[in-house]
Symmetry: C2
Subunit: 258 residues, 2 copies
């Protein structure tokens, strides 16, 4: 089985950031039985790699709908990640849907069969062997710390939904995608409310169109009322935007900066 290839080089400064989408699959999430734990994990991992997560879609266990979403999201983003639906039971439809999305058959991967036979030995069932099925031509990647490979077909990573395993796969994803230009984040905390802050925010947004300015009111925190965030890929511009904004605040503000 091929191990993960060396990561691609860091792109030059002018390049637009790479984009990604996440497709989360599972009736248990949309019925509220289970609270998703994977969105924030992937979002943070991609952020650290300089990749913009642009869209998350959460849908039911429906093979036609999963397939349609895989086709559309993989075509419109550099990378698509799926979470869930890769086990051996009747409600695990992601492998089949991903294969159908690209007009490919599903076929057993010999490396996965070997791993399953070694693990289950004489207890091995046909059900277990279903876990060796992948879209034909899929790439299997692993790192020394993650023995079970991550499955990728074209630009689509088929990740398991179980949070412990999803998290473990992030090491493989990071090694494969490689580092991009990182994002820089700064924050300002004030006791002013958004209605009062609005003209000051409008001014900094107008002066720094290349910096993403966010405003987040906080309830039931005595130490501040609104958190302002400044994000971008140019550390100097992010710092300059933060400083320009802080300079417009009245006496006694900000409460703190980060």
């Amino acid at each position: 089985m091929p191990t993960t290839p060396p990561p691609p080089p860091v792109p030059p400064a002018g390049d637009p950031p790479r984009t990604a989408a996440l497709l989360v699959i599972g009736n248990e999430l949309l019925s509220g039985k289970v609270d998703d734990a994977n969105v924030v994990v992937l979002a943070r991992e991609l952020r650290g790699l300089g990749v913009v997560l642009r869209r998350v879609v959460m849908i039911l266990d429906d093979v036609a709908e999963i397939s349609r979403e895989i086709r559309e999201l993989s075509a419109s983003h550099d990378w698509l990640f799926t979470s869930g639906g890769v086990g051996p039971t009747h409600d695990d439809l992601t492998t089949e849907a991903a294969a159908a999305a690209f007009g490919l058959p599903v076929a057993p991967a010999p490396e996965l069969e070997e791993l399953l036979r070694a693990h289950y030995k004489e207890r091995l069932t046909e059900g277990h062997l279903r876990m060796a099925l992948v879209p034909e031509g899929a790439t299997l990647s692993r790192t020394p710390s993650v023995p079970w490979p991550a499955i990728r077909i074209r630009n689509v990573w088929l990740l398991p939904g179980v949070p412990e395993i999803f998290r473990a796969k992030m090491a493989v994803v990071a090694a494969s995608l490689g580092a991009g230009r990182p994002f820089h984040s700064r924050a300002v905390y004030t006791k002013m409310d958004e209605g009062v802050l609005k003209p000051l925010l409008d001014a900094v947004v107008a002066s720094f169109p290349d910096v993403d300015v966010g405003s987040y009111p906080r309830w039931s925190d005595p130490s501040y009322k609104t958190k302002l965030t400044f994000d971008g890929r140019d550390a100097d511009r992010v710092r300059a935007a933060q400083e320009a904004f802080v300079a417009t605040l009245p006496e006694g503000e900000p409460q703190r900066v980060e």
Copy 2:
């Protein structure tokens, strides 16, 4: 301001369940700065009302994209809920996007202006007054326990993203949507793994096409390995499916049923 009208009557038994989608808006979620807390809250609320949440979409603060999603999701579901982007600052774009989705102007709601003037008094700013803007023709609903109204335009509820407030609005949503035929859920816990369970699950799925059967492996829980769920709107059929499945388990199983 009109208070919430009386809820519609419970639909007859043969009706298909009502459907809903949730559009979650905010750069802070997709960059991993904030972990969403609203999906599971709405999912559980709708489940209790007999409404099927079919799709969740999470996107960035982009007015054109928000508008497009509102148009598409509201057309393809009985109800659409949006979370986030309804404050007064430059990154609050949901009201404008919802109005644009239906070709409506944005206009101040006199009831909201009154509430804002009463709250902020002499501190009131133009920024605060932006919070009175709604798509023209929007309905304002409230219950005695939730003084600030929930805003709805056609079948789209524009809810704030702050988790404490989002949760508080669920009472208004429940009063307005009314009770539907509820879903019934049962569960079976076993120490068998999914590969071994697969043929037993296939059998119960084939016999009970009207019952939704789910299989969820658990890691690092010594009391069971796989949880099986049985869901449907006919309580007798759900119980029958659970019993039929349990009858096929080997000696020593299940660990427990719910």
